[in-house]
Symmetry: C2
Subunit: 216 residues, 2 copies
DNA sequence: GATTGTTACTGCAATTTGCAGTATAGAGTC
DNA sequence: GACTCTATACTGCAAATTGCAGTAACAATC
């Protein structure tokens, strides 16, 4: 009963292999496209984890050739399937965010208003791009079934989360841009705009939670 | 004009020092409480970054004593302030999430319905706890000004995001729990419940986006 | 005076990242 | 038929980061 001897990237890889065989390159590609927004990993690590999987005998390998160029194909073993199922029985780690832009917001009094505006603008733009990407992805899955037709119901759950997540960031940036619109600088609103600050901190009044795009 | 010679944790530390002096222990503590939800870092790394800051002459150090026990107090230098301001002028990295629970959702067909239910339940509970924590924090800042009264306007922006973020996770889990409520197992809904899957994937119908708690 | 908790860190192995590098295959193009 | 461009298919290595354990003094209670 192995349990914590493998990284989450390892179990994710095992999960892809549970559907069918993949080459190392394909696996690295899959973990980069789409899934990386949920579980980030460096390209280098995606290859490294395969050696670990082989070491634990969770996968079998075989070589295929295209002319002189070799590639390794991975197959999940029965003990690999068991390990994956065992892992799914363990409790999940809570989700975490890494939001460098928000660090910049917290320290914005050490920079200019334009710095702060720029941070919000870029955050908004990337959130918009990502939201649209997942929206297109939803349409693609709905139309074709996607790369894993047998998992479309699960992809639908995850995809809905991702759209909502980026939508939330988007609406927050729009709200924040409105909040700072009348700031004379990055420092004085702490004391000058007491009413506004209190208003921001008062729960139950998250205006930006409502009337977002996506509704007709 | 230094730019990328320091990690984000380094600039964050510099940002705390921009307000006033801190001991290494206090800095490590601050980066653990509250800010860790925005910019995660290992306890060990928070100490390591201080040596790097001293190396770059962005901080000065002095020793204080309580009996035989020493502690190092850090002060930001003028070149430290310049480096921080210069960093604030650079573009931010887009936010990223690490959501192990969602990996489990994607691979849920390799486990039981109870596994999936457990993942959603634990995600929901931790999101609820975190949302309430930030809600209490908002009340605390509103009442006392918090640890950085001069930054309360910036904390208000960040805090509002965090509450909305955990609220979004919470509402998504509740929605997802409803979606899987009538699933007979983790595999068949892909083909058996085509209408439901299509419904989940259809944009503009995120029911869970609306009528959330926090409203009267 | 014994135990428990908080302050105040350091050492080290293992993992992970980031970047660069190598080399073949195939498709288009002049 | 030589040339460029992109995709395939990875490996090596330094640097950064994590996770965990360990040390030790002070502070308060039992």
């Amino acid at each position: 009963m192995p349990d914590r001897d493998l990284s989450t990237t390892g179990y994710l890889t095992l999960g892809l292999l549970a559907a069918h065989d993949w080459s190392a390159y394909q696996l690295a590609e899959q973990l980069g496209r789409g899934v990386a927004e949920l579980w980030p990993s460096a390209d280098r690590g995606r290859y490294a984890v395969l050696n670990r999987l082989a070491e634990l005998a969770y996968v079998d390998t075989r070589l295929e050739h295209t002319g002189k160029r070799a590639r390794t194909i991975y197959t999940i073993t029965s003990s690999g399937r068991e390990a994956l199922a065992a892992w799914l029985r363990t409790p999940p780690r809570p989700p975490s965010v890494e939001f460098e832009g928000m660090v910049r917001v917290l320290l914005a009094d050490q920079g200019s208003l334009d710095d702060l505006r720029g941070t919000l603008q870029q955050t908004r733009e990337s959130a918009l791009a990502n939201r649209d990407m997942f929206a297109r992805y939803a349409a693609y899955i709905s139309a074709t079934g996607g790369t894993f037709p047998e998992r479309r119901h699960l992809f639908a759950l995850a995809n809905t989360f991702m759209i909502g997540h980026y939508d939330h960031i988007l609406r927050w940036t729009e709200w924040a841009e409105q909040q700072i619109a009348d700031w004379p600088d990055t420092v004085t609103p702490a004391t000058a705009n007491e009413a506004q600050v209190r208003d921001m901190l008062t729960p139950g009044r998250e205006v930006w939670e409502h009337d977002h795009p996506g509704d007709a």
